[in-house]
Symmetry: C2
Subunit: 208 residues, 2 copies
Amino acid sequence: MKAAKIVEPDESPRSKRRAILAAAVKNFGKNGYDATKWSVVADQVGIGQTALYHYFESKAHCLLTIMRLELQRSLEMFTKATADQPDPMEALRAAVRSAYAVSEQNVLQMRILQNNLAILAVPRNSKKEEAERLAARELVHGIEAAWTELLERGMAEGAFARRDPHTLALNMLGMIVSVWRWYRPKGLVTLSSVSELTEDCCVRMVAP
Amino acid sequence: MKAAKIVEPDESPRSKRRAILAAAVKNFGKNGYDATKWSVVADQVGIGQTALYHYFESKAHCLLTIMRLELQRSLEMFTKATADQPDPMEALRAAVRSAYAVSEQNVLQMRILQNNLAILAVPRNSKKEEAERLAARELVHGIEAAWTELLERGMAEGAFARRDPHTLALNMLGMIVSVWRWYRPKGLVTLSSVSELTEDCCVRMVAP
DNA sequence: TCGTAAACTGAACTGAACTCAGTTGTGGGA
DNA sequence: TCCCACAACTGAGTTCAGTTCAGTTTACGA
């Protein structure tokens, strides 16, 4: 259960790590991971291609880091949102709303996460990549477990209809995150309308 | 609306096209598209790497073909399932069930589809790849439109609660297909139990 | 049996990711 | 003020999966 905790490397003031992550998010999010040339990220940050390797072992290591960071944030937001909600239904509503209370950068990161989840399935060769991959998997598992637990609690209290809580949690999560595939900040559908509709869908899914 | 129809190349008896597609599905589905070496597919089919290019312009062309074929099948199944269901609720139930009435090969293809949907967003350089991409996009749009239409019909008849039918359709589809990310034929959860639960979820989502 | 098109091949090429063997620059201690 | 350690960076070169090229082989209908 315990995965080696990833310690964020301390950032010296002249470190370009954040700039690289930001540029990578922008490119991976817009054009996709594969379609993005690692050298273009270097250009945008204003360094040579080889300097990237001072911060990340590989393009994949950077991707995995982005994914892990976003998963960390998601789990934190869920925990914070549901922490002081004794009523399971209110906790569920808060959880859904927290999933959509995100910045534009987070939207991109969620999209990257969705589009590259498959990378978490296969072991990596490099140490650091594998560490990030395992941390990310652990977080995915943590998020799924947290949702499952919430549903179980609601079922135990009679607030939710009884069903297989884990599969139901996966269904809910699948619906909630599927939005990042198509949602665009400048699109016709607003995030708040998605949030409202999805919250309602989730409530209906558990109603006794 | 009209995309150039892709004509399936007629298969001579000694064509290895099907064998290549089957091997590619197996590998892309198990290890992911990126992690799969194109040359390994050639090995498994029993031909040299270069012979692959007799059938597909590129690895991506093969991937796009697999995705397009699966999308075609999905749309056909939806249409067939809902065709003679005058009652919207019954049509919805039939649609969900049809989504899970699949072979093991289809499971892999759906997984590949899910994991590589992002490739449909960015134009391709080669003619054939671009043709497959556009055909696939068209099919995605067609599937979304078909679900939206079904929901609209239900709402118009008063059988479903009134909401934005398109966003609701995307939510449903997102939930339904998210299953392919985690479902494994030899796993603990059976497809039929997933199908039942998800059918129920969808019905609850539209209930007036 | 011959012509031809599909099926195939080994060798060479390409380009993006990555490695190597260093150089530059900056902040902290004597 | 100098110097050192180490983060930050670089240009040249390597690797390797995907791809192209310039053909050869094989099956089959005329």
